[in-house]
């Protein structure tokens, strides 16, 4: 029995150690951010008093008000639009058969392993002057919103299809016998139950869109008022880090904060969504 208890103690020890390691880098910039430049911080930098001046300075000097607004507009639009679109595609692939569905679905799934790095070059040039309609979208929110909706629909389709397939067929059949249209079935019968699935999908899409960097770097670098928070952080760090690491640390904490807060409340959804593939199937 003592051996068993020792082993159990060892398990908790290992878990605790690796959990702390997972948190430490985040804590370390938080500690750094709670100092100011003149503290000449070194080492673990455990803060002895609460000094928020770096946060204030970072927020104004890094123009994060604008960055947060841009990030929020982009992430919210992408989340809402791709959720609506994915509910549609997921509903069709999950409950209907139609000409070509077995060809189109795998093509959409390809989007999940899709190296979208390979799309930024034409996006940059095409958004300067959109073919056929000659719009200039570079350095606008659209340049970030449109491609990210495209990317999110791939995951969303997979996710919502899995949900709609798991709903009992009898439910749909009963509604049809009652004369419901295909939209009626979706709107009145299936969607009310889909809320948790839609929430999980939205939380993930919002997070990925909020965190996105390469697209922002390529497509909105030229307009300060459209820069997202992560892009602003990257520029701010490049300009300020050598002079004052505490300000950059504060900025980094600010950029991570909204997602961390959402994570605290909707943790289950994050984990469930990210483990999806392994657990489904």
């Amino acid at each position: 029995m003592t051996a068993g208890r020792l082993e159990r103690l060892g398990s908790y020890g290992v878990l605790t150690l690796f959990s702390l390691l997972a948190i430490y880098p985040i804590l370390s910039i938080l500690f750094l951010a709670l100092h100011k430049k003149t503290d000449l911080v070194t080492g673990f930098a455990f803060p002895t008093h609460l000094d928020l001046s770096s946060f204030k300075a970072a927020w104004t000097e890094g123009r994060f008000g604008t960055g947060f607004l841009s990030s929020f507009i982009v992430a919210a639009t992408v989340t809402v639009v791709s959720a609506v679109l994915s509910i549609g595609t997921g509903y069709a692939f999950g409950t209907m058969r139609f000409l070509g569905d077995r060809i189109v679905f795998p093509i959409i799934l390809l989007g999940i392993i899709f190296p979208y790095e390979a799309t930024v070059i034409p996006l940059y040039y095409d958004f300067q002057d959109v073919p056929l309609i000659h719009l200039h979208l570079l350095n606008t929110y659209w340049a970030l919103i449109l491609p990210q909706i495209g990317q999110s629909v791939a995951f969303g389709t997979f996710w919502m299809r899995a949900f709609f397939r798991s709903t009992p067929r009898s439910l749909i059949e009963a509604a049809r016998i009652d004369g419901a249209t295909s939209f009626g079935v979706l709107w009145r019968v299936l969607l009310p139950q889909a809320r948790p699935a839609v929430l999980t999908m939205s939380v993930l899409v919002f997070t990925y869109t909020w965190n996105e960097f390469l697209l922002a770097l390529v497509l909105v670098s030229g307009s300060q008022s459209h820069q997202t928070a992560p892009l602003g952080l990257s520029f701010f760090a490049g300009a300020v880090r050598a002079g004052d690491p505490t300000k950059v640390a504060a900025a980094a904490v600010l950029v991570a904060a909204p997602i961390l807060v959402v994570y605290l409340f909707l943790q289950r959804h994050f984990v469930r969504g990210m483990l999806a593939g392994a657990i489904k199937e």
Binding site: I26, L85, M96, P115, E117, T119, L146, M274, G277
Partner: protein
């Protein structure tokens, strides 16, 4: 630094041809197209079409401003002999060891340590282990830049324990910058692997463990005979995802060592970015992007293929 694609986790497995009979998803109703078209349009216009467009660009010599010149496959033949490109893929291979191989092995070892006894309160640890997945790559880069800083926690700790001679500005060091970036990747992924494997173990029938114990199997045997085979699917998923993430890595590299010092952390996506937007070699950058995309698709296919075969065996 979770990437949008990684959310799909093992969705990849769905790309494989199915051998099991799949029940028909529903009634034949061509009205389904009405629901598919809007989403499909966004996907095709803003994801698929740009990829095709990239391949098209790769056949031209173009500075992004003046007229394009068709050059056939010559961007690819230049790529073939480009030592910078080759070393960027070598760096990717090193990153794969750090992003994929080490986290999977670490995840398996930790899982093995946990399966002998049910661990209560795993949810609490899970919250911490999952944390790196949701932090933006740019933020992760800032956090680790501080850890590796000349005055940062790592060097401070080394000096405190009398190993001050090892202290260095890690990200500025020719031989240490790449492993330093790799370590960031390990940090990002090991928790995901662990949570994935622990939840996988819970689906292995406990009768298998009982049987192994009755047969007198020790911890190692039990792991090799029961846990590892039972986790085959999860390990495969983890390997595909983390390998792809290693190949695609851009955010963390760009915001830490940015390819330097002396090109020792140059990775393919970084090299593509530099060619397209700094050196004005757009056609060549498109060829690099195409090669990267093909590499990713081929590697994913190979891992899935191998996994498929071991499933049949």
């Amino acid at each position: 630094m979770a990437e949008r694609q990684s959310a799909g986790a093992g969705l990849l497995r769905r790309l494989r041809p199915r051998r099991r009979d799949e029940p028909a998803p529903g009634d034949p109703r061509n009205i389904g197209w009405l629901y598919v078209l809007p989403g499909l349009a966004f996907y095709v216009l803003f994801t698929l079409a740009p990829l095709v467009h990239t391949v098209y660009y790769s056949l031209f010599s173009w500075d992004g401003l003046t007229a394009k010149t068709y050059v056939g496959l010559s961007n690819y033949s230049s790529a073939f002999v480009d030592s910078a490109l080759r070393s960027s893929f070598v760096h990717s291979a090193v990153l794969i060891a750090f992003y994929a191989v080490i986290p999977v092995i670490l995840g398996l070892l930790l899982t093995a340590a946990l399966t002998r006894h049910p661990v209560r309160g795993f949810r609490f640890f899970r919250t911490a282990l999952f944390l790196p997945q949701l932090i933006a790559g740019v933020v992760i880069a800032q956090a680790w830049t501080w850890i590796y800083d000349d005055n940062g926690p790592l060097n401070w700790a080394l000096r405190e324990v009398g190993l001050g001679s090892l202290a260095r500005p890690w990200l500025g060091d020719f031989s240490w910058a790449l492993p330093a970036i790799g370590t960031i990747g390990t940090w990002v992924t090991y928790g995901l692997c662990m949570v994935l494997f622990v939840s996988g173990v819970q689906k292995i029938p406990s009768t298998l463990y009982d049987a192994a114990r009755v047969d007198g199997a020790g911890a190692v045997r039990e792991f090799l005979a029961v846990t590892l085979p039972g986790l085959r699917g999860e390990v495969l998923v983890a390997l595909v995802l983390t390998t792809i993430n290693a190949l695609r890595s851009f955010d963390i590299v760009y915001n830490t060592a940015a390819g330097g010092p002396g090109g020792t952390t140059l990775v393919p996506s970084m090299y593509m970015y530099q060619n397209a937007f700094l050196y004005n070699k757009v056609g060549y950058a498109a060829a690099v992007a195409t090669i990267l995309a093909v590499t990713i698709f081929v590697l994913a296919a190979i891992v899935l293929r191998v996994g498929d075969r071991s499933e049949r065996a």
